[in-house]
Symmetry: C2
Subunit: 172 residues, 2 copies
DNA sequence: TATTTCGTTCAGTCTTGACTGAACGATGTG
DNA sequence: CACATCGTTCAGTCAAGACTGAACGAAATA
């Protein structure tokens, strides 16, 4: 029943994840896959993914590899089966944050390197460049702490804690 | 002399900023403009920007507005001048972080909203969705702290205060 | 009021990247 | 060994967005 046909609410979730990931500069299909794996965690065969999401095998190949590289999903082997299977990774989000962090660090380095070359620039210019570099350092520091937060309060095993949710959402 | 022709090192810096901003999903020209404003802070006329970066007036209009909305630059009036002038804003980076934060919050809200609709889902599924929502919460929290960090150690106006400046820059 | 000088907007071009579908090599099966 | 099945790769198509240049309206000047 719930094998090849997807409920409406689930479709919404999957498509929503597609849009969220896409807004972050990733392929929409990667987001849809991620949504599907979050929804049902269990191992999916390569063919299942193509059929369920109605996408080509090429896209399945490309985007599963992408998500695998990101550590969001992992490839598992099932005995007696020739197909590849995938399931949600144990810690799906850590490497996403780590990648953001690395990008900020790279940016900061590149900027400081430029600052060295631009010794002819005035002191105010060097100040402004320093502030820019500092901006990227703040970003990388923030992602570093986010990484620690993720490890600590994983949220998975500890579902409905009291939550200091501002809950300002209800207002609207 | 240094009016219409740009030095090599400065060009590298400007182009580098173009690439960094582009990697973040923004127009490359916005990055180039930002690089130019960081390099020399002073007010530039609309025409200057088009000429210096060799871009069309249309692009100047679009991307100055974009950077203005982001709070990176601000439009200033100069008496006796009909042209618009722009200069680097006092706190150029705060709103960029704030925008990232809002996006994470929106994502978390959307996911939790979906979770309500998906009450038919099993408890493990709700767990996984909760973890996903938690992930975006961690991101928004991190950006919130980054925002505070930016306000605190602005680095620009308070150069050599008593210092907690890491000043590790000199080392390398 | 006529004219010039702004900045914005919009149609058109072009680049980039996602996605598809078919061809291909690899690996098990008969 | 021939055959079938699986996943990857690659050329081709398509859509999204950046950028340009010209047309346009607004505002100051004469």
């Amino acid at each position: 029943m719930s094998c090849d046909m997807i409920q409406d609410a689930e479709t919404d979730f999957i498509e929503g994840m597609g849009l969220i990931l896409q807004a972050d500069g990733m392929p929409r299909i990667a987001g849809r896959l991620m949504g599907l794996f979050v929804l049902r965690g269990g191992p999916f065969s390569f063919a299942d993914l193509a059929e369920t999401l109605e996408i080509s095998r090429g896209s399945v190949s490309t985007n599963t590899r992408l998500l695998e590289d990101l550590g969001v999903i992992e490839r598992v082997a099932i005995r007696g089966e020739r197909q590849d299977y995938f399931r949600l990774a144990a810690d799906p989000y850590a490497q996403i944050v780590e990648r953001k962090r690395v990008r900020s660090i790279r940016a900061e380095e590149a900027i400081r390197r430029s600052a060295d070359t631009l010794s002819e620039a005035g002191p105010e210019a060097l100040d402004r460049i320093g502030s820019l570099a500092n901006f990227f350092r703040v970003l990388s520091d923030a992602t570093a702490r986010a990484l620690q937060d993720l490890e600590t309060k994983d949220g998975n095993a500890h579902p409905a804690r009291g939550t200091s949710t501002p809950s300002s959402i209800a207002a609207e």
